[in-house]
Amino acid sequence: MKRFLYDLAHTRAGDKGDLCNVGVIARRPEYWPVLQREVTAERVKAWFGDWCKGAVERYELPNLEALNFVLHGALDGGGLVSLRLDTQGKTYGFALLRMQIEVPDDLDVPSLI
């Protein structure tokens, strides 16, 4: 079944210049393997599309049951350069949580939306 990532994870986003990083944390331990399998760098890059000009890198933090995504060229220059409303990508964690992922039918995932 397809579910919003919001139901399985929470996020925090930060910026460094024109980079945005999005930490994705499993809400429950049983969601962690789903995140590892479904939330790939390729899918995240495809989700952000042209809104992120550069590459997307993914790192795993198994001790936190979390992934870290680094989005290059994601902030229209970032900081004082960007013309966007969200110059620092503060909301990009929530933007990613809107993505839908495939979840095993037998996994109990309460809807939070």
């Binding site: 929470h10 996020t11 925090r12 930060g14 910026d15 460094k16 210049g17 024109d18 980079l19 990083n21 930490g23 944390i25 809400r27 989700w47 952000f48 599309g49 042209d50 809104w51 890198e57 790192y59 795993e60 933090l61 198994p62 001790n63 936190l64 979390a66 870290n68 680094v70 290059h72 229209d76 220059g77 970032g78 900081g79 004082l80 350069v81 013309l83 966007r84 409303l85 969200d86 909301t91 964690g93 929530f94 933007a95 949580l97 809107r98």
Partner: protein, 480 residues
Amino acid sequence: MPSAPLRIAGASGFWGDRNDALLDQVRGGPVDVVMLDYLAEITMSILRMKKLRDPNGGYAGDFLKALGPALGDIVERGVRVTTNAGGMNPRACAEAVVKLAREQGHAGLRVGLVEGDDVAERLGALAAAKPSGSSAAKPSRSSAAKPSRSSGPGVSLANLDTGAPFATIRERVMSANAYLGADPIAEAIRAGAQIVVTGRCTDSALALGPLLAHYGWAADDWDRRAAGVVAGHVIECGGQASGGNFAGGWESVPDLANLGYPIAEVDESGDFTVTKHAGLGGRVSAAVVKEQLLYEIGDPRAYQTPDATADFTSFTLTDLGGDRVRIAGVRGGPAPDRLKVSISYQDGWANAVGLTFVWPHAIERAQATERLLLERCAKLGLQIDEHHVDWIGVNGAWGPLAPKPAGEPNEVLFRMAIRTRDRNSAKRFGEEIAPLVLSGIPGACAGLLTGRPEPRPIVNFWPALVPRDAVAPRIEVLTA
């Protein structure tokens, strides 16, 4: 018998944070150290502009506002304070602290001053040094962390993120500051300073410095230095590690109006507990601390600082309950052989204008207004290098990621922002929005971004690397 942990409290996450957090941290329960971070990437360029206007300015004056009501308690309880509020002018900031202490009758208070991060005047000499072939920076895969490891001598000052050569911005440089580490702060504390003021240093150094002074960890004790870096990283962003900005269940966080900022209780081993004062609001849970651990990091195995390279995948994190989260077993590696330098440079002008359109066809009328403004710019001969439009209420934060609205929106705030090399064009653009209330597309009201918005200078940011020996921190202790 193990000694009591060193209790380090965070009280500021950026310039603009709550000024009353310092007093809360000092009065809310026992703490040994309070650290206050004021310097986001963009802050140094803003402080640079302030220093140009006033040679005695250029530091985060909010620190004095926070310190004023808290200084009596700080002196009485012997609490140590570390801050990078010095910004572009740490000496003026430290002198202002001395003046405040004298005014309040705290003669004898010792204020440490760390300088040497400002390398702007030496950039020319550094860049003129012939770089070796291996030193041209490649686009970094770990540049979300602070300094980066790189091998080979030479100072290319190439952009760490893009690889672009320094010559492209050389004439437009406004400021250049190296990220200093924790050792100068520790040295100032050992020299007797109760309050330590620095310019640009890593945020985590404000915590690691007092730890090095207290425990005497060796210069190559990478694991414990890395533990101090992680502890500092957790508490350097104000309320973000105690329930503020918590996406994993904000509904469960009590009393944000009295949010207690985070505290790290760090053992001699480097293991530490994140907590907060019991009498204040907020929540310290595993999920809250995980979010902050992930904030503004790149490769978690190599979080690089001038003090150590920390491995964020190495430790265990345990929720002990009662607003206590334990982090144990941090592993680290050697510090990089180069320091990151944050260079800011002038990069043109920006302006933004807006009008609010109401139902029906609000988006279509916003699109028509965009075309109208571009026609006016062309007619007036304005130089508009780039423009960006959003419809706040529909796609303001997310641009093309936002799904199209199902029906007709009640209203959208049309916002159009421009970049240009020409200040006059930016200024003139700001004058084109108000006339549209009478001479433009109907169904709009003025308000946000209407009137005559003034252009703002664009200050861009250029990360680069320099050898450690190109930067010489200086310590001084002033006495009130």
